[in-house]
């Protein structure tokens, strides 16, 4: 689980340096943890979990914090539900072209609560790496 990955991302090498907006990163990480804990342990409080996710999204927008795509992909954009594969999200490969060619493959993540689909055209570049993951690769350890 990509918990708190937006916190101090790309600045792991100099740990003594103070991270700007550290309090806001801590708050976002905390809201992510409690909403995830509620969804898994107590699914009857789903409305509260969605409320915390909405607060997370609003705080990130208000304080202009760049969240990691790993976190953004686990939150539904429309209904703020925690997207858990098999529980609140279904994943499948879709190909709408006539020739069914490989470069038209689209990886679809569908929220089972509101029906919103996240579409990733994985067929175009099968070796695509996210920008944040590229940053991790380039750091010599």
């Amino acid at each position: 689980m990509a918990k708190g990955k937006g916190k101090g991302k790309g600045k792991g090498k100099d740990k003594g340096k103070s991270v700007p907006n550290r309090d806001n990163y801590a708050r976002i990480s905390y809201l992510y943890q409690i909403s995830n804990q509620f969804y898994l342990a107590h699914p009857e409080y789903q409305a509260l979990s969605r409320g915390y996710n909405r607060n997370l999204d609003l705080i990130a927008k208000k304080t202009v914090i760049k969240l990691s795509p790993h976190i953004k992909r686990t939150l539904c954009k429309k209904c703020n539900t925690m997207l858990i594969p098999g529980l609140t999200m279904s994943m499948y490969i879709e190909n709408l072209s006539k020739q069914k060619s490989q470069h038209n493959d689209v990886f679809v993540n569908k929220c089972l609560n509101c029906g919103k689909c996240k579409r990733f055209p994985v067929g175009k570049d099968r070796n695509y790496i996210l920008f944040t993951d590229k940053q991790n690769e380039n750091i010599p350890t």
């Binding site: 801590a26 905390y30 409305a47 208000k62 304080t63």
Partner: protein
Amino acid sequence: MSLQQDTELEKHLLSRCYDSQSKIVELLQDRYSVTGSQKSTILFKNIVTDTKKPRSLLHQENTQPTKITQERKKTTRQVLREYISGTLNNQRKLIKKIQSHNRKNTTGHQPFPIHQYLQKYKIPNFDDFFQMNKLWQKYAQDLIFQNGNSMQSLSSILPRLTAADFNGCLLTVLQSRNTNVIGTRGIVVWDAQHSFILVVPRNEDSKEWNEEKSRFSPSEMVGGLKVIPKKHTMFGFDIIDPRNENDCYGFTIVGSRFEIRSVERSGKKFKNHSVDDIL
């Protein structure tokens, strides 16, 4: 002969309204026929019904009306508000049931079957939120005891606490104009703009001076959610010292100065105001 005389009058009148003779004959046939429709009225006005208005060339019929699905009508704020108000309604129903049971059962010692009703009405349980409070304590300790074990100075702690998140904090009402809420303690489940929504424990844990009691009021038996207004109220909370588990630091929140949305507090600077109506 007499029939013709009658139709002469109508024919004379209809010739003023209609241009064609065949239309007049048709109308008279409809009215005075033996086996036909036998209309009871004659229209003395030429009404044309078939012509259509000339439309603009750019006019297009909207043949596919867009339907707003049910999911789009349910936003997150709406669902949360419905959940809170539904839970408060269920708590009110259960309190009325307990009061009715106490009224009938004055002489007997039959206790109210509280646990099955709590499950039936899905009243939130305080123990479900205990893990959330543990997470909040770690989060608050990180804010105050940053980068190790030394405590920060007070001038750097307080701006962080004002911007902190209070969902999960164990709050106690210390002072209030509304004396009924004094002593109430619970874990914050939602930090609204003008109120804190707490989940309160049941029976002997509900207030500090209830720990030696044996009889409790119906609302203390139920627990669940409580909405405490922030205005004219002072709240208190403790943060446990990570160096020594028995020590803790107490802080208070003046609720009248805290009526800001929790999201907007992250960029807000608190300034001095007048102290007239503070409590």
